[in-house]
Assembly symmetry: C2
Amino acid sequence: MIGRLNHVAIAVPNLESAVALYRDMLGAEVSDSQSLPEHGVRLVFVDLPNTRIELMEPLGEKSPIAAFLEKNGRGGIHHICYEVKDIAISSAELVAKGARVLGDGKPRKGAHGNPVLFLHPADFLGTLVELEEVG
Amino acid sequence: MIGRLNHVAIAVPNLESAVALYRDMLGAEVSDSQSLPEHGVRLVFVDLPNTRIELMEPLGEKSPIAAFLEKNGRGGIHHICYEVKDIAISSAELVAKGARVLGDGKPRKGAHGNPVLFLHPADFLGTLVELEEVG
């Protein structure tokens, strides 16, 4: 079912500091920042040869990563995202096997414009798993 | 400096359950398990098309992931590993820029037989970062 690791998302308290760390300290290529108000984050992509790291800062009062950053003041790995070919089929299969999809259970449009959903961390080894449909 | 994302390591309380989850629930290819007493873990590799996930269970009384699992009973993402071409050069550059290398500061032989070192999570957005020299 799962294909490529699409990205690893790291929640950070300050995006500019995080960019400096990855660009200047670790020598990686980092994109310009994008604000995604509908997702409650401002983010950049760290482009690695085989995948990317997303650095996300909370945006707005209802940011879904605000609570995470209250617990993890310096930041931390927030989720990992695996690609699937057909998110409706994958979702139905996972639910049939007992996994829980967060929210209303339906895919929504993700940060890259593709359908995504999140799986309950308690069902996946304490890790928040995003599935993204990449055709 | 950093190249490919070599792996994401997830600490798990029970390796067989974790294998079943990735193999049967998520439909991924999972290797046979390996015991690495010198690293205090027993692990499998989940082979994705572009990188791999390591699922690690504590092995022995001094396992370096035991404390992590005491705090995170269901498991959780323990570290991410980036590849570098020359670990001695990378290490010297990072230390010169103020980053802290864990342990005695010297690379040691990692789980794949290559030189590795770990960087202090407090210096890297709350994430434990492993660097692995891949020639």
